[in-house]
Symmetry: C3
């Protein structure tokens, strides 16, 4: 593993390895001293072309807990020459010889492009509507810590699948790990021919009781203006995940930030069946694991030995 | 002490304890190596819903000098569902298991609400017009380092008391520590029935020569538009703190940032009698003390022993 | 050396010393652990009144690699009382007892003014159109690492010399180190009487083949509106640095960020003759050297000994 660009690039074994590593970091995060020296003296750059408090702070704190120095760049993509200015920005940052560059960019493929320009490990923190692999991995971790393996579990992903990089990454990850995935939403928000990936498609929540896990996607309010849904109220009536629709054994997930009362009801968010805050803490542990696997174990760096005893981060 | 929400929650002994601790950190801040390992490996989140370079940088640097990792979130309060989105934001940050969350929020009671949602120690860095306790404590420290105890001292707080959380916290803190407090300003800017707190009220500066300490409040230019004062010039003529009004033994304080030539004259700001820059350095020491007392000495954490020998921070 | 305000304040020996120190830090930056403990426990404030990802992140990372704590303040200069508010902001930050304040400000002389208000070492990171000394020093470092001494080399500085603090600092620095400097650009963009500094002036690139190094300045698009050039296209036709104009032995530099296809052609940026990314990495090493020389070797601090063995940073 030299970069983390897409769930497709990973083998099942690599995902298992990341999950195990992340579990050891989750344990570190429960200690009083939540820090390990693994990346001391190394530099991690975060480069965000889209606003994101949640993901950027998660990666930044993950890097700090690994003792790296962090350079955070919030770029507002200029209107023209976006490709070119991205290249120049990245080459500038690359001159600091960072160990990793974590990038979020509105264009699909941006992270992939970076790998041609830099020596650093590249982590895709979201590229357009394409991929958000660390989200899928942290979701697997949150599930593993609650119910163990997802093998054979039925997972419904509900909402705006069409515009969601989270959905793309999670469908792949859940299926790779043996889950049965169903996507549900209004026909306007489900990509055509998505069945070819092997998942089921539903246009209502009538059969949602079969789900072990319901994964609610964020509903962008802009979609209403763009006529993908008639109204937020109508959308909520048909597809909101709330306690009236679910039975108590069904787990609920959401990538955040939630729109309370739109795609998800407040009663569910704050209930025991919600994994939402587990997802955030899993995010920190998983991002530590990703950076650690890429930087402290990678074969593309000259480091001969792991700076951290395996399984015993301290 | 589990949280710092309001001056009212503190006993006189707790304030004395914070002042003594802060004096030892003030001494650390005069050293070349201004850092102690007290909070190494722990995370402090600062969450500011109002712009504030001064207070946020003070808390951030205080946390860094205690060797904590800092996550800084500048949130711009959205127009709707503020209560709900605050809850979701805080629960997200809380999943990082921070030792403390420092919050500034335009709504009175926001910091108090946080204590119901999180395990972290909560520090109120200003909630609406209600409280700003670290400001009052740092002001006590600045005074203690200049004149010792405030017991029996006459302190005038001058200006827009009505809209000032600084005034609310400072009236309480000064009176608790034995000072005689007078508030002065135009009737439109003095809260009704404030005498019931035990302070005096004046609507002019005619008797200001009795004051040992004059505490000038920032005049928000918006107040003029809102018709609280006829004009900035008229306000300055009646209530500006300047060297013509004061005698040389009277000390002057201001929470900053100052409006030179409005509520305070440049001649006073730059004079020996001004405590303004003492207040800033006291702010750093006091915020180190607050975080230290809450986190390294608190009984709500599993740490059995202080990581720092008392009185000998190093 | 107590401050770094202007190239003029430096002797040739001091520049040599900085270049040597920076070379040792460039070596540190190629190591896996890119960090030295030189400024542990000390505070560096960066105060930027103009947007600048590049220079501010370079100084911040330099300070972090020296193990300092960094307080970053991005100020948006208010419309009035700029002088006064600068003073108050600086006095506030100065109460943290920073070892250094790095300032960028739209007014010429701002950094100089700071030295009267604070005890900290002041580093000018750009003041109006006047000076940007760390840029000139990093450019010397980039050249030294590619071609050794600039003595006797012919360096052409091309473009908007009139509005460029980079040009001002670099003309001085290159000439001090023995280079022959020519400035070239349309007459509207060359300062009058600049020949008096000892450089040559050209209003076309006809003789550019004599140059060993061509230093292209950024063309601000605003200049077109202000009628300094008839159009960007016309400017590019006459003064763009591209591979048709140059021979392969000529080196190209640019302070960044580049406007591809305006003052410089993409073919040159990405070619071997370009020093542009060398300049960025040299910037980091030179800023480490500047902070180190001012803070760890300065005679204005009480530190009797260097915290870092000379020539052996570790």
């Amino acid at each position: 593993m030299k970069h983390l660009l897409s769930i497709e690039d990973l083998t099942q074994d690599e995902i298992e390895g990341l999950l195990e590593r992340a579990e050891s970091f989750a344990e570190v995060s429960r200690r009083d001293i939540k820090k390990v020296p693994a990346l001391r003296g190394r530099t991690v750059v975060t480069l965000f072309y889209e606003a994101s408090t949640r993901t950027s702070s998660s990666f930044e704190l993950a890097a700090k807990r690994l003792s790296a120095d962090v350079v955070s760049v919030k770029a507002s993509g200029s209107s023209v020459d976006k490709g070119e200015s991205l290249k120049d920005t990245v080459e500038t940052l690359s001159a600091y010889d960072p160990a990793a560059i974590v990038i979020r960019h509105p264009h699909a493929g941006a992270a992939q492009m970076l790998t041609q320009w830099v020596d650093a490990a590249v982590v895709n923190a979201g590229d357009g509507m394409r991929q958000h692999p660390s989200q899928a991995l942290l979701d697997l971790l949150a599930l593993r810590q609650r119910i163990g393996s997802v093998e054979g579990k039925k997972i419904w992903i509900v909402g705006d699948v069409l515009h969601s990089r989270v959905a793309r990454s999670n469908i792949q990850a859940f299926m790779m790990m043996g889950a049965e995935v169903t996507v549900a939403g209004p026909p306007t928000l489900i990509p055509r021919r998505i069945e070819e990936t092997g998942c089921q498609v539903r246009h209502s929540l009538d059969e949602i009781e079969e789900a072990d896990v319901v994964y609610s996607l964020r509903m962008q309010r802009e979609r209403m203006k763009e006529s993908f849904v008639p109204s937020i109220r109508e959308y909520a009536r048909l597809f909101q995940i709330n306690s009236r629709r679910l039975n108590p054994r069904q787990l609920v997930m959401h990538p955040g930030p939630v729109n309370r009362g739109v795609e998800i009801g407040a009663d569910v968010i704050d209930s025991d069946r919600s994994l939402i805050s587990d997802q955030v803490s899993s995010g920190l542990a998983m991002r530590m694991a990703i950076l650690f696997e890429l930087l402290a174990h990678g074969d593309h760096r000259e480091t001969a030995e792991s700076p951290l005893p395996i399984g015993e981060p301290a």
